[in-house]
Amino acid sequence: MSVKPKRIAWLLLLFVVGLSSGCKTTIVSADPNSGVELVGERRLRLALDRVKLEIGSSASGPTNAICYACGAGEATAVSSVLLPFIATNLSQEGWVIESSMFRLRRRDVGAADMYARVAAESRVLIEVAPESSARFSVPIVMLAYGAQPPPTKAFFGEYVLAVGQPDEVILERNLSIGAFHQGYQALRMVGLILVGLALSGL
């Protein structure tokens, strides 16, 4: 039986389209504009367009993660993500970045639904040598409680990530969490383009 390369290619395209339409993608996305970064001699940049958010139903995720909780008791859903950063130290002294410098809060819910950092000892994430840059990732875990909204949707919404001391913020960025069927998005856009083409020919 001969194998036709074109047939394989079209099957590959079908696979990619099927993957993008069949799988629901849950992501963390950063607002590319608003925020604070790159000030002073110690600069921290969130090197993120998007990253996959893992959602589970039990207390899993990296054991060394910075943990935020919305409620108390036994969590009904757990999400985890690795946020990538680039730190630049222009000073003559080393720069120690600790987990206690990171703060995450929701900006689209009331005070009762705010995330609070689960008490834990601060630990060193990285030490940036003088006059150098370093790339590192910070594992974040969020815990949700209760059944309403459905636990897997409890994380969807808007967040603010801040790094630094309360009186000296060195990074503040807005984040969004949501889930999408990519193929359906593309199909809707293609439909709009085709309608536009047809109207342009009238």
């Binding site: 996959k52 630049t88 969490i177 085709l194 109207l199």
Partner: protein, 300 residues
């Protein structure tokens, strides 16, 4: 409504992405987006580009005696260099075939039919296996959130042609209207390949782009929410030309491009030489790609 759609229609109207180095050649010389990506992506997709020998009036572009549709599946990886975080790299590989379809169908049966334009005649058609690959390095300068300068260089190679190149540019996002303005300059030294042995000895292109950049994943307007609240951008490209006429002078071209990019990393792009007022040579193309890192947990 009609005027609002006009941009879409102009771009897709009669004929022709990439993020530099993400989809391999020949996208940059067909009008595809040539701006580099600064963050980690593992991108796969397909690009389609059409070289049209005749236009709707039967005029020929140059002495290349065949039309071609280049269908290339690609896989690319972009990331920051761990030891040099201000630098990013993109490595890409592509393979596919050249043939009349689906680009002839898109050109004549979709775009020209919907716009009630005459069909483009097709003579001889190139039908070969096609390969492409590339490697690019970019240095980033990021003075504030939403603005960056970059410069870099790379090599693209494949069955169509080979090309070492240098580039530089600037991105600036205006917070009020949520519009990003970008400009890129690129110079290269094309070398003929198996498909096109005769190419210009030097090339330059300038690309200017504007994009609406949403603030967050969800939108408060129903239309944008229906579409998934994507980033929508257009670009205008002037290319001194990689193809040459019978006197071996480069044939310059102007392209218009449309890119739709969702927060998930899904990208749809199309580009067209309609801005050139012509409909032959490197006429149009399109690209569909996804970021595989949003489907699979690659870090844990």
């Amino acid at each position: 409504m009609r005027s609002g759609l006009a941009i879409l229609l102009l771009v897709c109207g009669s004929t022709s992405s990439d993020v530099l180095g993400q989809s391999p050649l020949p996208d940059p010389h067909w009008g595809g987006f040539a701006f580099p990506s600064s963050t980690r992506e593992i991108r796969t997709g397909m690009s389609v580009n059409r070289f049209t020998q005749f236009d709707a009036d039967g005029e020929t572009y140059n002495d290349i005696a065949e039309s071609a549709g280049f269908n290339i599946f690609f896989l690319s990886y972009t990331d920051r260099i761990a030891a040099l975080p201000a630098w990013s790299f993109t490595a890409s590989l592509g393979a596919g075939w050249s043939g009349d379809q689906p680009s002839e169908w898109l050109q004549n049966n979709v775009v020209h039919a919907l716009r009630q334009q005459a069909e483009v005649r097709v003579g001889e058609v190139r039908e070969e296996a096609e390969f492409a690959g590339g490697l690019a390095l970019t240095r980033w300068f990021e003075p504030t959130v939403g603005s960056d300068f970059f410069f870099g260089g790379g090599v693209a190679s494949g069955t169509l042609y080979h090309e070492p190149y240098l580039y530089g540019g600037y991105n600036l996002l205006f917070d009020g209207p949520r519009v990003r303005a970008s400009v890129l300059g690129r110079v290269s030294r094309p070398i003929g390949g198996q498909a096109y042995p005769e190419v210009a000895t030097s090339n330059a292109l300038v690309q200017v782009a504007l994009a609406y950049v949403p603030e967050r994943i969800e939108s408060s307007t129903w239309m944008m929410q229906l579409l998934g609240n994507p980033e929508i951008g257009i670009a205008l490209t002037y290319d001194t030309g990689i193809f040459v006429d019978i006197d071996e002078d480069p044939l310059d071209t102007v392209f218009v491009s449309l890119r739709v990019r969702w927060a998930t990393g899904l990208i749809l792009e199309t580009w067209n030489d309609i801005a050139n007022g012509s409909d032959f040579g490197p006429t149009f193309g399109a690209m569909f790609s996804v970021d595989l890192s949003t489907f699979f947990d690659l870090d844990h």
